[in-house]
Subunit: 230 residues, 2 copies
């Protein structure tokens, strides 16, 4: 399958590497390819400069947001939350129309230090904003509740006995994404929360995730939902 | 121990009954005792009129917010989040001074239907507002992430293999409350998140809890934290 991953940070790198490893044809999208490849400094402690990363992942293509979005049969949004709406605008609505757009971003505002706050929440979510800006895309919010390494390898944490969520207005898209999470990454426990407004739940949960990260000192952390039914 | 429980709704009833059953001397606090006892209608499907409930729990005393707060060596806030600051004002700061004040409320605004939104979040929490309004109280936020029945009987859900959190500025108070959660209710998994600002995490998590309740149709739901460390 032709897969696009928008965003070249840690999530974009880890996700692209995994999807390419599965044998899919991956193109990573970025604002400006030359600027990206010219950059030699690390963006964060766990993230390689993209030019180095590309060297180690020769099968992965690189293009503009629009080129990547146009090429993919399915599109992952792995851009930073505060830059997401602009990045998707640059990807151009017609390139996303009719496609599943998997949004794993969080609207984190780091301007006041750690822990970051959310730039939207409570009566709104980034997932909803994306769906409104791209009414023809089939937006599914998922995976935003875990670290990139857990996203693509849930079994690497607690034998995979923990949950991830899907939210989106298109029930068939939620189902397809649920299957993809299972088959591509090994997610055995996916809870369908419902329409895209339910993305407020997993996005706001990130405020707890950040405090768990702070208290436990471990970014490999997720939750298992325990109820009378499962 | 003399224990006060402020609030006469489901959480106040369930908590008071359990604490009294443990042999403690419980007083429930309310705004106006006569009004409360005169009320004969149910406040919600799972909540008895308090006058009926009292009949079945003859050991539990009833008083005003101030009488209850003055009497207790430890105080639970089980009032509705939107009414909490007013209730604690009525309880009078000097009656709370030096005491552990366990806050299990959520700032839920039900005015626009289900799911409710939060009246404060992101850059603020109800826990912090309470601590600021009552600087002499030793506020510990906990138990707000679960249904009242799970609060007092965690083992009744998934054999107790799930977590609860404590947040508060006083480390000794967090420790005392952690022990109390274990000894009184049987909580085996308590995570100390840190100062009272960390209450934003568990309070915002409630947005996810509400969607899980919506999706699973089960109010007996909690999360187990899964990390490399536990």
């Amino acid at each position: 399958m032709r897969v696009s991953v928008l965003g070249t940070g840690m999530a974009g790198q880890v996700l692209s590497a995994k999807i390419a490893e599965l044998g899919h044809d991956v193109m990573v999208g970025t604002r400006d390819v030359q600027t990206l490849l010219a950059r030699t400094e690390q963006r964060s402690a766990n993230t390689q400069p993209f030019s180095e990363w590309m060297w180690e992942h020769p099968g992965v293509r690189i293009g503009t947001f629009a080129e990547a979005a146009a090429r993919g049969e399915i599109v992952f949004n792995a851009t930073a939350g505060l830059a997401t709406l602009e990045a998707l605008e640059a990807a151009e609505p017609q390139n996303l129309a009719g496609k599943i757009l998997i949004d794993l971003s969080n609207p984190l505002d780091h301007s006041a230090g750690f822990p970051p706050t959310l730039s939207v929440c409570n009566t709104e979510s980034l997932g909803e904003q994306i769906q409104r800006a791209h009414p023809q895309a089939r937006v599914v919010k998922t995976l935003n509740t875990v670290n990139a390494y857990v996203m693509v390898d849930p079994k690497g944490l607690g034998d995979g006995d923990h949950h991830v969520f899907v939210s989106g207005d298109d029930p068939a898209a939620r189902e397809e994404v649920t299957l993809m999470l299972q088959e591509w990454f090994g997610w055995e426990h996916v809870i369908d929360l419902g329409d895209i407004s339910t993305a407020r739940g997993p996005e706001m949960y990130v405020a707890l995730w950040l405090r768990l990260f702070g208290a436990l000192g471990d970014p490999m952390v997720n939750v298992k939902v325990v109820s009378g039914q499962r």
